[in-house]
């Protein structure tokens, strides 16, 4: 994986304390009903690696379509909700007239969180926003530049979802007032996200530059946001959409890499591979993979969610496997043999 992809995901690796508070510490949740699913749109999947600020339009469109299929039971595609012009076009994307007497559709409660991919990384890394020191002119400028880049991506994702008829609403963690303290989330009121969900919208959040009470500023990664939201909203399942089929025992570019299909997480947060049965110790091989792909971090975050009793599916975006994961087909029973991906679930 390129540097572009890993930056917003790997910050936790640099500081192991970049964690959300676990659910057991939270007595109050503003979510009136449990939500169905939190989806991570991985930066590696929806943007073009190695090319600054380039969206993978084909994947984004397919991901949006699958999300719509998972959220709406009707086979009929609802009218689009992006009534704006695209750059360089004089026509609006979707026609409001299509709504006419369109009947009410029932949407499942989804939250979307996206990574940065080739947006935001360049601006954050060149200025060192994640390290703080907001009083430095370069860092302050980098903070501004990073937010411009990632909110550009957010807007495009919101628009892609809206074109599929998903009532998507962009909500930046910074604007929501989320703040960290030495990179740990210290204040992240989820009530406005809950109200958006209760009003029938699909909130779209993202890894963001945020204020930090000690450091001045830092980067809050999409994966940490998901852990935080999962703890409060107790989704039935969480899906990480990536650019590979799941978690492997070594970099998936290696020909003998083995896809880990099921990982069990025990109460103390330690995890082990249940399927397939592996001959060698997994820990070392995953650790070596981690230096390039942040997969150990991803498993750690997934394990923290799984500990709450929430199944996590890590799966390749825009495939039949991702559609099954998003639709909730994998819940409960066994994972079908023909499904490619990684399930992380509680062993208890």
């Amino acid at each position: 994986m390129s540097n572009f992809i890993s930056f917003f995901n790997e910050l936790q690796t640099q500081n192991p304390h970049t964690k959300t508070k676990p659910m057991e510490h939270n007595s109050y949740s503003p979510f009136t009903q449990p939500i169905r699913c939190i989806v991570k749109l991985g930066g590696a999947a929806i943007t073009c690696k190695n090319e600054l600020e380039m969206i993978n339009e084909e994947i984004l469109q397919k991901v949006s379509e699958q999300l719509r299929q998972a959220m709406i039971s009707s086979s009929e595609k609802p009218p689009g909700m992006d009534w704006s012009k695209r750059p360089g076009s004089s026509e609006i994307c979707c026609n409001p007239d299509e709504f006419g007497d369109h009947s009410v559709m029932d949407y499942s409660r989804f939250i979307v969180v996206h990574g940065a991919g080739s947006f935001g990384h360049f601006q954050a890394s060149i200025s060192g926003v994640h390290k703080g020191q907001l009083d430095k002119p370069l860092v302050k400028a980098g903070f501004v530049a990073t937010r411009i880049s990632v909110t550009t991506l957010t807007l495009e994702i919101v628009r892609a979802l809206a074109r599929e008829g998903i009532p998507s609403i962009g909500m930046s963690p910074f604007s929501c007032g989320w703040i960290t303290k030495e990179r740990q989330i210290s204040s992240a009121d989820v009530s406005s996200v809950a109200k958006a969900i209760d009003s029938g919208f699909a909130p779209v959040l993202h890894g963001d530059a945020v204020l930090d009470e000690i450091l001045g500023c830092t980067i809050l990664s999409g994966d940490v946001i998901i852990s935080h939201l999962a703890a409060y909203s107790k989704p039935k399942y969480v899906v990480f959409l990536t650019d590979v089929y799941g978690v492997y025992d070594r970099p998936p570019t290696e020909s003998d890499a083995i896809l880990l299909k099921e990982i069990a997480v025990s109460e103390d947060g330690s995890w082990s591979v249940v399927k397939p049965k592996l001959q060698n110790s997994i820990e070392l091989t995953v650790a070596s993979h981690d230096t390039t792909g942040g997969m150990k971090t991803k498993i750690s975050e997934a394990a923290m969610i799984a500990k709450l009793g929430i199944d996590v599916y890590i799966v390749k975006a825009a495939t039949s496997h991702s559609l099954r994961a998003l639709s909730g087909d994998l819940r409960g029973g066994n994972i079908p043999d023909d499904w490619l991906g990684t399930v992380v679930r509680s062993s208890t």
Copy 2:
């Protein structure tokens, strides 16, 4: 003025109760220091009327330049903070290397609020978002579409300011969790705006589609946001940048229209024209103007701010007059005879 321009400003006229709570009701302000200025970038000034979603790039650039001159005492232009590509370009706008060992600059505390102009109006009016009924598919879609359109404009304004070296940060009222109750602001925590200001940023807010506790949803106009922010942050002055020289006694397109240079507001909120001395009653002529331009609403909002002891300048954007207003040159003493614009201030 076209319909495009007036929609986000005129909603108060449709419902006279669309007001913010006056300052005397608020005991707590999260602003640690008073801010210097709140600036309204009028939709009519920064977008092209009658053309859907078209920015007036020349005016926006000039406005951004004047804001930079007003915010930074140094005559040297700081390096740009928009390190993203523009659509269709492979180059980033500004070069981070320019920061090198750039010294710390002192920025005055400004808040920017922009109107919608030709962004958002079409989407909001065709769906009736301002009237509520979010359970209707068309209204929900309109809510999504309106937010896509106005946040597109916000992003472009944030980028234009950042290119001038202003540390601008987009903050949507919806994402900030601001909520209305029958179109009155019922919950609009300004603490995240205050924190952004305290951290040295220039927050950029905008008229937005928001949730309403009774109606389901509505449009919160930029002018109401300014009144609310002014009550909490107590700026030294407020500037409304528009596409005409100020407030006239009749539509400024009429050849005998007279520019009202000074309006005094008494304690009960009533107002009268101090300069120039007018022969006819002003109330009727302004009222007739109001049906097309929302100027009575604008005076009412300005009067509410002036009542707090804050001078309000209504002035044509991107002129020498707007630069003097933004720079605070008009504060205290008399208004120079060669300054074109309208001052609204407390008579006490």
